[in-house]
Amino acid sequence: MIIDHPLLGPRDAAEFYVLGDASLIERPDWQDDNAAAAFDSYMHLRDNPAGEHRELWFHEQGDRSWLVVTRNTLTHEVVKVELARDVALALGRST
């Protein structure tokens, strides 16, 4: 597979490490009343869609950036590639 890196252009997927669902960016607040349940589903439950899937790829043998790759799990077509840091900031994550 080829991941079209937003900064570096097309790179072989073999340079990357795949973590899984991009929802892992949305780490719950440890002080929520239902933090335990929130962390449980955050850590353990997945949509695992047959179709478009947003997932986290780490360019380990490259620029060490975490990417959010939107990829079709039926065809492997890569629809979109974003820098995870930008996605996280857009989600309001900061410190």
């Binding site: 900064l7 570096l8 252009g9 790179r11 072989d12 073999a14 340079e15 043998q61 490259g62 620029d63 060490r64 950036s65 820098l83």
Partner: protein
């Protein structure tokens, strides 16, 4: 008490060999210092670099050559670059820090890498065997730099001349990396 002054040793003891059409030689006289951009400090760092090196911040995948014609800034990450310059001794980090002050965060990487220069017309055919990147002269231009993997070894490749490549990999795997590049050359001769 014997004299305990420590003498430096390059990872490959200064390896050099001309295979005919491709020359491979260890680079032992260069330093490498990483420069990280503090969050929100890009402008300040860019200014400092313009001032002291007379060149721009490199974009990831590219490098910029300082006006001294020696120091090359390699754009390896969005918020991190490597300064690659001729240097002898242990003061590489200071050499950069003195120029740029508190505009960036610096880490000496000179000893982290083994550096090889591969030059000659056959460089491309040899690299075909280990480098996954498209190195076609029109695609990977002089000054382009990339981090990738060759024969299971993390590597940095820089094209700094018409038929010149600088190959770097972790110092600890220097021997294996040399073996991989050498084999690639021998296999195509």
């Amino acid at each position: 008490m014997p004299d305990l002054t420590l003498t430096a040793q390059p990872p490959l003891g200064g390896f050099s060999h001309d295979f005919g059409g491709a020359k491979l030689a260890e680079i032992a006289d260069h330093a490498l210092v990483s420069i990280a951009t503090p969050n929100g400090g890009e402008k300040k760092l860019a200014a400092a670099i313009k001032k002291s090196y007379g060149c721009a911040l490199p974009r990831p995948g590219q490098s910029t050559l300082a006006k001294d014609g020696d120091t090359r800034l390699l754009g390896l990450q969005r918020d991190q670059m490597f300064a690659f310059f001729a240097h002898d001794g242990d003061q590489a980090l200071a050499a950069v820090a003195n120029k740029l002050g508190d505009a960036g965060y610096y880490t000496d990487q000179s000893d982290s890498w083994v550096m090889l220069r591969l030059s000659g017309e056959l460089s491309w055919t040899a690299l075909e065997r280990i480098c996954p990147l498209d190195l076609h002269p029109d695609v990977f231009a002089v000054g382009d730099v990339a981090r990738t993997m060759m024969e299971h070894i993390g590597a940095v490749i820089l094209r700094d001349g018409k038929t010149d490549f600088v190959l770097m990999s972790a110092r600890s795997s220097a021997r294996s990396f040399l073996h991989a590049v050498e084999t690639s050359i021998r296999n195509i001769l």
